[in-house]
């Protein structure tokens, strides 16, 4: 009986792994095949030459993936720095200062967390348009910074674990509020910052709706929109589209292998708040 249960358990795990991996592996196969090989072989047939990177070269240059990665990186870095700065400053003030309407402000942040961003895009678009930001990378940056309530939530929760005696000691030594923020609070916030950078970084790398809606110009393609728009002209050339898809997936694989533990923790922290 024990034996049967054990076998069933491993069989189900292997089956699930196959279901997860096969769709990805066949795309990898396709991406390494030549045009002629692709049309004559089945999807489950491995490529003849595992080092045939021609499709990757075509996808990389014709899909302007370099530009996509540069745009994504730029938006990612600016939005993350912005989110961390804005979020930690606000969390510091809300947690440590006493000022009028503090509870109201806190309430505004908490209620906003319930509003799914996707529902308000109709009206948000008009605002971003009136600011003249449509078709600039700033549209994505301000939206990534502005619609992120979970980060503030994570920072606020983390602030509670930093003992106030630390900043009081610094204050007695004559440090200003801002010095305390920069020299005491910010270094101690590192674990929370790492969490926010990871979950937010993954979300921005994968975001499709905002860049698709706000940055129509091909010069502003991020990797999601570059991949999406690549399919138009290459509609039937699946070996090239497969290569372009792999180009987008590979960085995620690398980051996941390097940062596994942090990603699990970050995702758990981000989703259950």
């Amino acid at each position: 009986m024990r034996h049967v249960a054990r076998t069933a358990k491993y069989a189900s795990l292997v089956l699930a792994s196959v279901v997860v991996l096969v769709p990805l592996v066949v795309v990898l196969f396709a991406s390494l095949k030549t045009r002629e090989e692709y049309s004559t072989s089945g999807p489950l047939t491995p490529p003849r030459n595992w080092f045939n990177v021609d499709n990757f070269v075509t996808a990389w240059s014709e899909g302007h993936m370099l530009r996509g990665f540069l745009n994504t990186t730029l938006i990612l870095v600016v939005s993350l720095v912005g989110t961390v700065a804005v979020g930690t400053l606000a969390a510091y003030a809300i947690n440590r200062f006493r000022f009028p309407f503090k509870r109201l402000i806190l309430g505004l942040f908490l209620v906003a967390a319930l509003v799914p961003g996707v529902t308000t895009q109709v009206a948000t678009y008009q605002i971003v348009k009136s600011m003249g930001l449509v078709n600039t990378p700033w549209s994505a940056v301000v939206l990534f910074m502005g619609t992120d309530i979970i980060s503030i939530y994570i920072f606020l929760q983390f602030m509670q674990s930093i003992p106030p005696s630390l900043d009081q000691a610094a204050m007695i030594d004559g440090a200003s509020r801002f010095t305390i923020y920069r020299k005491v609070i910010l270094p101690l916030m590192k674990p929370a910052i790492a969490t926010v950078v990871i979950i937010k970084g993954i979300a921005i790398y994968n975001e499709f709706y905002i860049p698709f809606l706000y940055m129509r110009s091909p010069d502003l393609n991020v990797i999601s929109t570059a991949l999406f728009r690549f399919k138009g002209p290459y509609g039937a050339q699946w070996e090239t589209i497969a290569a372009c898809t792999m180009i987008v997936i590979i960085p995620t694989v690398v980051i996941f292998l390097l940062l596994q533990r942090f990603i699990y923790n970050g995702v758990t922290a981000g989703a259950t708040k």
């Binding site: 792994s17 997860v20 606020l156």
Partner: protein
Amino acid sequence: MAGRVSGPPRRRLRHSPWLYVAPALILLITFTYVPVGNMLFYSFHKWDGLDVTMDPAGLDNYVRVFTDERYWRVFLISLYYFIASFAQIAIALYFAVILSFNTRFRNLFKGILFFPYLLNGVAVGFVFLYLFQPDGTLDTVLRLIGLGEHTRLWLGDPDIANLSLAGTSVWRFTGLNFVLFLGAIQSIPGEIYEAAEIDGANRWHQFRHIIAPGIRRIISLSFILAISGSLAVFEIPFIMTGGANGTRTFVVQAYETAFQFRQIGLASAMAVVLLLIVLVMTWVQRRLLPDEEVNLS
């Protein structure tokens, strides 16, 4: 803790708490509260998004959302994704439970099951477009295992396209539920299992009396999130079918109404309805599952 500020006026201004909160607050109001307010206003008007004047339309937009088949049908499409999320939660729970016991290659399996959640949505869309192609991977696998007569136009047949898309969604999001459940199970102290084992509890007893109560909260939370999640489906149908063959979801429809047909008022009414549903769901959740006291200030 005291926030009393003294000193010369310049110094006071520089250290005013408002300066610290202002950037976050301005962003919050500009990109969340103003849009919600505007959206309510638009929803009672007929507007193309460009005109300087808006025509008042009373409740016309709302009436249309609930009476025109093109608009209320999208709610039914959400049901596919909602029902699929039950399968998703069940699969995630099963694997979280078995991986919480001693298992060989535990981290490898955990990584594989979780990994799809991290992938770019457009890439996932293309991976499954390729999988569902006529004579593609799925058809080939079916033939290989002797089910060749069951091949279909997985995305072209309106009877089955939504199932294919909902299946894609399960593939993509199961990993998130799985990791959340696994985390909750592992936060149950190990001594409890040991004590139970000494008392002669078998695996089923352990699941029934230790694990199930320990993760009840996160499971209920997952169900509530599944409701709003299934209403907010956008990427998978938009990328894979563009909403064709009866796969238009709520957000795809709202997107087209607003940005292709320029009916901002109507699209806003749809968004308001969606927002209300989500808020009601959240309220229900809070009533059913009173939070452990959350206090952030």
